[in-house]
């Protein structure tokens, strides 16, 4: 870490992060951050989903296979799900997925889950910053590069 050149190269490298945001809260939260002109790093690309419960783990794994460096999944806080329990189901799913992927050697820093409500524009910006920081700490994703 004290190595100057290393520090520099991670600074230059811009991770690509795919964010799956729930329509009812985090997506609106992101919107609010935008309208309120809160600055956050431009590394994320947003996919709007109806609910975190809609997120098939395939989306996450396929994104990594396609070379995205990190994932952000954000939904409604516990108790606030538009569909009552979608986020609870998703929470269990991601807990297992994250544990399993970590065990298999995929850096957990790439897999970021959180809750952001529609009113939390500020929080959304901070979460994005944190996610970018996490992903930067593990470097580019070359896990599923095919050799040819």
């Amino acid at each position: 870490m004290t190595d100057k050149s290393k520090e520099k190269s991670t600074e230059e490298w811009k991770p690509k992060i795919i964010a799956f945001l729930c329509n009812w809260c985090s997506y609106a939260g992101a919107d609010l951050a935008g309208v309120s002109r809160i600055q956050y790093p431009p590394n994320i690309r947003v996919v709007r989903v109806p609910c975190t419960g809609r997120i098939n783990p395939f989306f996450i794994i396929k994104s990594l296979a396609y070379g995205w460096d990190g994932i952000l999944v954000s939904g409604c806080h516990p108790g606030d799900c538009h569909y009552i329990s979608g986020n609870y189901i998703a929470r269990r799913r991601f807990a297992i997925l994250r544990d399993l992927m970590t065990f298999l050697g995929i850096e957990p820093e790439r897999l970021n889950f959180t809750w952001v409500s529609a009113a939390e524009g500020e929080r959304f910006a901070k979460i994005v910053r944190k996610t970018v920081e996490n992903v930067k700490s593990v470097g580019p994703n070359k896990i599923f590069n095919k050799k040819w």
Binding site: Y66, G67, K146, W148
Partner: protein
């Protein structure tokens, strides 16, 4: 025919000499599994093996085979052909597995369609086979027109004897090859007779198995026989028996793309034991259960093959017996066929 020899210790010299002119493939042990790979370091080669887990067909017909690659250029697409196939030697292949090369020649040039990839490779491959000193109890090559020292489909046959390997050229290609190799010496004439006897002894010790005689015609009337229900009930429908069978050659063609606009068209192994194999675009699947799939494997090898090419589609390597997770034994099917047809005749 030419007879030469080399002491076992010097085998890497031989490999190194071959490598000057050829790409050399040979048996290598990786993580406890013997398979055929390009030999980069002559020391890697593992000749003390019974037979490879993955058959040597993988050299001619790799698990992933690139047909061509492509790259987006401006508005068009540029097709990139494969580099030319280099001259190749397959070293140490068992005579049963090498039979497959002539089988594939038939299959990949049947009728109107010629497979340029495989046929071109075949032209460039020289086969140095190695006789089996210790056939396994599951081997039945002698019952399907083969043998542990079968010379039919090799260019050179090696027999291990005492501290030496004896090389016998079978084809002109083989003779030309061993003539050139400096590390070989002339065979010890005194040993040759002993070797011949050894080969005969080993060959005759392999039991001839029941039910294979004329199985082609016997199967003809058995397509709808209830025996297939019995034979297929334990099958779980995996691909072990067919992927690891040296004569199975089915494939699927697919495209792979990268994010940078390049891609390739590949073919990968496929098998009749999978439901997707026969799924048609309309959604109809003519083989919906395990029964027709199990029957297909047997009919293809022992009925359609003899009909189409006049050869048996099995070389008797026994891999399907060893690897089947539910211990389904192809030899028992021969016996069932035999019993049923003798009953109906009598």
């Amino acid at each position: 025919m030419m007879q030469k020899m080399i002491s076992k210790e010097k085998i890497s010299d031989l490999i190194k000499e071959l490598q000057k002119e050829f790409k050399v493939f040979g048996p290598v042990k990786e993580e406890g599994v013997v398979l055929f790979k390009e030999i980069t370091d002559a020391k890697e080669i593992c000749l003390d093996y019974s037979n490879s887990k993955i058959p040597a067909k993988s050299v001619l017909f790799p698990m992933i085979d690139t047909l061509f690659s492509y790259k987006k250029e401006g508005k068009g697409v540029k097709i990139i052909e494969n580099p030319p196939y280099e001259k190749t030697v397959i070293f140490g292949i068992r005579p049963c597995d090498s039979m497959v090369f002539s089988l594939f020649k038939n299959f990949f040039s049947f009728g109107k369609y010629k497979d340029p990839l495989v046929l071109n490779r075949l032209k460039n491959i020289t086969i140095i086979g190695m006789g089996c000193l210790e056939p396994r109890t599951t081997c039945f090559c002698t019952s399907v027109n083969g043998g542990p020292f079968n010379k039919e489909s090799v260019d050179v046959l090696i027999t291990e004897f005492k501290d030496n390997y004896y090389l016998e050229s079978i084809t002109d290609k083989g003779e030309a090859l061993i003539k050139k190799i400096k590390s070989l010496t002339d065979a010890d004439k005194g040993d040759l007779a002993k070797i011949e006897k050894l080969q005969k002894d080993i060959e005759s010790a392999i039991p001839v198995i029941e039910g294979l005689d004329g199985i082609y015609t016997k199967l003809d009337g058995l397509f709808d026989h209830p025996m297939w229900k019995m034979e297929s009930q334990g099958c779980i429908g995996c691909g072990s028996c067919t992927y690891l069978c040296p004569t199975c050659h089915c494939f699927d063609v697919l495209d792979e793309n990268k994010q940078d606009g390049s891609g390739r068209r590949i073919r990968i192994w496929d098998t009749c034991q999978f439901p997707l194999f026969t799924l048609e675009t309309s959604g109809h699947n003519p083989r919906t259960t395990k029964l027709p799939r199990v029957r297909q494997r047997i009919f293809h090898k022992f009925n359609y093959y003899p009909k189409n090419y006049n050869i048996i589609g099995c070389v008797g390597c026994g891999r399907c017996i060893i690897n089947c997770p539910v211990s389904s034994d192809i030899r028992n099917i021969f016996i069932s066929v035999e019993n049923i047809s003798s009953k109906t005749e009598g």
